[in-house]
């Protein structure tokens, strides 16, 4: 399984913000969820991968080739295999759906007019509708239709489902699942604040916080193995004394009536502390406690 996108030690600084040694990859056949707070650096990392901003240092490899070594012509050829969806419908206001299809057709050698027509029809996007008249959800669907209609190997979505209603988000996720299932050699990088979407579709999670990688793991490590233990003070003391977990690896949040402890293995915890309630961790819980919790 090769990597479609590999970022290593990416650094990019602006006035009061800097990406520092950010690294992650998107393997074939996988969905990588990029999470983190507002201003953490997710979009900057994506823009660097797409050549929209120039990295100060670091390595970006697309489909096995170093982008820094590519000529502009070669980079344009590589972009034939990438589909991008941003958080806005990024087309000129007066352009119609048909116009946008024509622009995309002239851009991508593998443009599939039939597929674009099928997708826009299925999602209720009239050919004569202007970009400025599309709702947020319809604009996202148009952008997604464009990204899905040129046989891209890599999809990069930056907050593409933000502001969508649950049904529209489910439609988007279905389209992405269909895209991956169609053939081998495809992958998705998806930046999102809507962690429930990532719980449904992601294989890996990468968290960026304050310009650095906070954690990078398989999604199942979070949702399939980690847990939130609802502890009393005595339970916390017992937990620290039992030696089951390495000191400094647990995160906790002291609440009014309990201390919520993020444990990396809820099954081991349940075996050792059967009387303490423990729930599966959601991505939100994991993020919150990893980034904001107290170290135990």
């Amino acid at each position: 399984m090769s990597d479609l996108l590999v970022i290593r030690d990416l650094c990019k600084s602006y006035g009061d913000f800097a990406l520092q040694n950010v690294g992650f990859s998107v393997p074939e056949g996988c969905v990588v969820g990029l999470v983190g707070g507002n201003g953490a650096g997710k979009t900057t990392a994506i823009k660097a991968a797409l050549g929209i901003v120039h990295a100060d240092s670091g390595s970006i490899r697309l489909f096995g080739e170093e982008t820094a070594d590519m000529s502009s012509t070669r980079f344009s050829q590589v972009k034939q295999h990438i589909g991008v969806v941003f958080d806005t419908c990024s087309f000129p206001s007066d352009s119609t759906v048909k116009d946008i299809g024509a622009i995309m057709a002239s851009s991508y050698a593998a443009w599939d007019r039939r597929r674009f027509a099928d997708l826009t029809e299925a999602w209720g996007l009239s050919a004569k509708k202007k970009a400025s008249d599309l709702s947020r959800g319809m604009g996202m669907k148009l952008s997604l239709a464009c990204a899905l209609s040129h046989d891209a190997d890599l999809l990069i979505l930056d907050e593409a489902t933000a502001g969508l209603d649950p049904l529209a988000r489910e439609d988007a996720l279905d389209a992405l699942r269909g895209y991956l299932a169609e053939r081998d050699g495809r992958g998705i990088l998806m930046s999102s604040h809507i962690t429930s979407d990532l719980e449904k579709i992601a294989d890996y999670l990468v968290c960026i916080e304050d310009g650095r990688i906070a954690f990078s793991c398989e999604k199942d490590v979070v949702t399939g193995l980690a847990g939130i233990a609802h502890c009393r003070e005595a339970d916390v003391s017992a937990l620290l004394a039992c030696g089951l977990f390495v000191p400094g690896t647990l995160r906790a949040e002291r609440r009014a009536t309990e201390t919520a402890v993020l444990v990396p293995d809820r099954f081991a915890f349940a075996g050792a502390f059967p009387r303490v309630q423990i729930d599966p961790a959601s991505i939100d819980d994991y993020l919150s406690l990893t980034l904001r919790g107290d170290v135990l």
């Binding site: 823009k47 797409l50 050549g51 929209i52 901003v53 120039h54 502009s72 012509t73 980079f75 344009s76 050829q77 590589v78 972009k79 034939q80 990438i82 991008v84 941003f86 806005t88 419908c89 990024s90 087309f91 000129p92 206001s93 007066d94 352009s95 116009d99 024509a102 622009i103 995309m104 002239s106 851009s107 991508y108 970009a131 990069i156």
Partner: protein
């Protein structure tokens, strides 16, 4: 580059048609009111060229289109060159519209001089046409020269930021020109007297066109370098 040209044309074609039709109407109104096809065509070529260019350049800052366009399989060089070619097309379109307006006025003025008075017809139809074509082409080239100076700033800073300091720059250049013309009054007067016969003549226009197009191409090269180094 084909993608850029198609994108520019597709997204502005309705606006282009509207503005051209409106401009012919305005040009005829101004020309007939002032008895001057020369005034109408000169006004139109600059007004239409500048208006259509601004509309085209403003597209980039709609809805993040400029940023998204960079994710398409086009290089930044192709983006810039495509835009320069589009603007050249706008120049030719503006010239065509202004000459059409002048032709309508000259035609009606010749056929029905009591209905539409066109002062330039005292030179005869051929003389009037020659004067109008010469001045319209010269003005179009001068406007293209102004574009050549402005475009690199727009590609470097974006249209919104560039339009904040370009007027000040134009004012500075104008003040320098006024100072120089005051200092070299005799030479400037001789140049202005020679303009109608020299610049507006075929040889002068051809030389002016070559010079302006060379500067336009150099401007394109500078814009490519600036655009390639820009972060979005």
């Amino acid at each position: 580059m084909k993608t850029m040209l198609l994108a520019d044309f597709i997204t502005t074609r309705k606006y282009l048609v509207q503005q051209c039709v409106l401009s012919v109407a305005i040009g005829l109104f101004v020309g007939i009111a002032n008895h001057s096809a020369l005034l109408a065509s000169n006004m139109l070529v600059v007004m239409l060229f500048v208006m259509l260019s601004i509309s085209l350049l403003a597209l980039d800052e709609q809805n993040g289109w400029q940023r998204f366009r960079l994710t398409l399989p086009v290089s930044r060089k192709q983006v810039v060159m495509g835009r320069y070619v589009s603007l050249l097309g706008v120049a030719i379109l503006s010239l065509g519209v202004c000459l059409l307006t002048a032709a309508i006025m000259l035609g009606v003025g010749s056929a029905a001089p009591g209905v539409v008075v066109v002062d330039e017809l005292v030179e005869g139809l051929a003389g009037a046409a020659s004067l109008i074509v010469g001045s319209a082409v010269a003005l179009c080239l001068v406007t293209l020269l102004a574009m050549s100076i402005s475009l690199p700033a727009m590609f470097r800073f974006g249209m919104t930021k560039a339009t904040r300091f370009l007027p000040a720059l134009c004012l500075l250049l104008f003040c320098i020109a006024v100072m120089l013309s005051a200092q070299y009054a005799a030479e400037v007067e001789a140049l202005l007297n020679a303009l109608p016969t020299w610049v507006f003549g075929p040889v002068g226009l051809a030389l002016l066109a070559v010079a302006v197009l060379a500067i336009y191409a150099a401007s394109c090269a500078v814009s490519v370098r600036l655009y390639e180094s820009r972060d979005f």
